[in-house]
Amino acid sequence: METLMSILIGVLFTIGTYLILTKSLIRIILGTSIISHGVHLLILTMGGLKSGGPPLLGIDTTTFTDALPQALILTAIVINFATTALFLVLSYRAYQELGTDNTAEMRGDENE
């Protein structure tokens, strides 16, 4: 399972990186989202998969999955949501103001 997950994460990173390196703002945002999915899965995988029950006390199990990566990921999801939202609004506004979402065209040449 971990092996397959590692490969899947690698693919997600590859696609995300490639999208980030394009000129279109919206693709860049899509790329960051994909990479953050990859990061979340990476943290989870590194903590070991399916090594116990869910980290809830009081249910009928004695071994738990590592709760720490989960807490980290939870933080990461929320922060990632915040940045994605900001990014989106920023690109929306940039498009409104500049009429393009191409980062190469956004760059003015008057102050070069």
Binding site: E2, V11, T22, H37, D66, Y92, D101
Partner: protein, 804 residues
Amino acid sequence: MTMLHIMILIPFVFAIFVPLLYKYFNKRLHSGWFVILIPIIIFVYLLQLIPKISSGATIYETIPWIPSFGINLDMYVDGLSLIFGLLITGIGALVILYSIYYLSKEKEALHNFYVYLLLFMGAMLGLVFSDNILVLYVFWELTSISSFLLIAYWYEREKSRYGAQKSMLITIFGGLAMLSGFIMLSMITDTYSIREMFAMSETIIAHDLFLPAMILILLGAFTKSAQFPFSIWLPDAMEAPTPISAYLHSATMVKAGIYLVARLTPIFGGTAEWFWIISIVGLITLLYGSFNAVKQIDLKGLLAYSTISQLGMIMSLLGIGSAALYFGYGNEAAVYAAAITAAIFHMINHSTFKGALFMVVGIVDHETGTRDIRRLGGLMTVMPITFTVALIGSFAMAGLPPFNGFLSKEMFFASVVKVTEMDVFNMETLGVLFPIIAWVASVFTFIYSMILVFKTFRGKYKPDRLEKKAHEAPIGMLISPIILASLVIVIFFFPNVIADLLLVPAVSAILPSLIEEGVLNIHISAWHGFSAELYMTIGVVVVGTIMYLLLKKWTKVYRLYPQNLTINALYNNSLETSQRIAASMTNKYMTGYTRDYLAYIFTFFVLLIGGTLIITNSITIDLTNDAPVNIFELAIMFSMLVAAFTILLAKSRLTAIISLGVLGYLVSLFFVIFRAPDLALTQLVVETVTTALFLLCFFHLPKFKEQTQKHKKGVPFKPLNLIISIAVGAVVTVFAFSANGTQIFEPIASYYEDSYELAGAKNIVNAILVDFRGIDTMLEIFVLCITALSVYTLIKLRFSRREK
């Protein structure tokens, strides 16, 4: 905190108060009157140490600084450092007195001036009293920095900035070389204390790092003391105010290199390398400086080259004298020890007459408005006192009696003559050059000394070519040069007072073994019969006078040397070239495109993580502990891959956005499978909101195909980006493998499993978030608030440009 430490600290502490004093008292009183107290206090303190030090005792005080690394403020006073301490404070006091009249309190930024000056004074005192080489290095660089600030004191002048930069680049280069030499020394000896290194001299000389360490340290000494070919910074440093030139660039700072060489002689001395490098560099500098001084038309330029030349002379004497350590003790050693005595003696003499000369030149500049030799002349009658001081200083520099320069010059001649008789270090081959170079250089020294005094003060008075009407300087300005000039004469008549009180302890610090054997007997006398050195002096005077009179006939030789082959041209060219290369390099990679920078970041990520994995040999692929896979999970994985590739290849935004949503929901399914119910819930909520947000912006953002007409078919294909992306993916995969295959530490998760006892929570993840790491979560909420505000502001924001 001992008295010695306090004395070194006073200048630094007082420097803090100078701006305040300047602010409140400047209208009534020149700030220099406050500052002058500092060197006087320290000077008096050091004076009362003389009896103790001259009786052979030393003072050692220490304050721990970084004891765990063996770096402590070890302060050590012996004969050598005491002479420097007296010079620093004595000349310092005279220079400050002089500056009070030289720098106008109405026009100049005096607070800056005196802060830098005190900074320098403290640094220089720290330098000469430090026994710990790393502390010494810190003070050494501090002198370079304060020198830089003082040269650039009139920073609005381009030449000042150029000179300051040049001195900084050259001396800091040397300082860094010296630091690496020091580190090598401490590696060999396992100590930072200079005195402890003395005892290990034989270990050091036998070590493989001996030669590199020695050369690196000498680089520091040579750059600081303006030895050829690093001397080029000193003439440009003359852009500093004249009191500074007199103080830093002639009497004290440039002698730090001399101090270092003298200080380390017990470690390195007695080896052929040390002897040859220092003697030859010193002699070349001596000749180079005196030869070039003659062609100068700026009086300060002339003094700068003359300083270079005199420093070379002192350096060569230290080189010759180091041979004494080879001979151990006995009469032969005493002969070479005399060279060390001559070096220290001449250093004192040089500080007196050169200090006086600099001040005289400053007065001439101040009172006539020019330092150009071609415009000056006939000032003797206008400025009789200044002329007298200049005469005394110049004749001392030329090595004439009855001035102190004569004594040390004779000792110098005696040393270079004696050294030809030496039969070690292959002296029989090149030894004969020593007296020849020394004699030729002395002839030029004689000529420029005469130029300095006679071209300025004799000849025709040309008032129309001066910027101001010349008159004698105010008496306050004359006090310091008069004191120095009197010393020049007093030392000639009573040299043995200095010898007994200062020179003997200093030489015994440089050559400790000789004093124990009692072979060192320093007695300086002006007359010692018709010896070789006397004939050399007579020859210098005769040939020098003839050449001075025929000056116009032979100065053409200076034009023979091509201007573009000088060291200065080399320095300028290399500086320009390096700037040009740096600019073109920067322009190449700083494209202004974020995506290029991202590509660099990704590349470095790959190199750093991948490289670390390879170098530390930590790539492990261990499949044995893998959790089992079922068909359902495989299906999710496959779907995720499909979704991800759809996003990549989608031609329409809608497809891409929906695929991203699919991907997110599939991730939350994985969270369920991997026993993370909280994550799954959060992911579901966030994914829904994000997708909704994307779709909201959907109407406003341009279609993919609109962005570039050429690439209507979705994402453009860029091979380089693809390679980078695949490399990133591969590194992450390998990283994930290795992380699973390695376990260095025990997991700390079991601590949190007591969450019910510790925090009263049954959901461990929630307990971690809101209890164990509660502040973290609070700050996270804070981030969310900031984001929400930014989003709101961005939407509401209307640019003024549009409203117009």
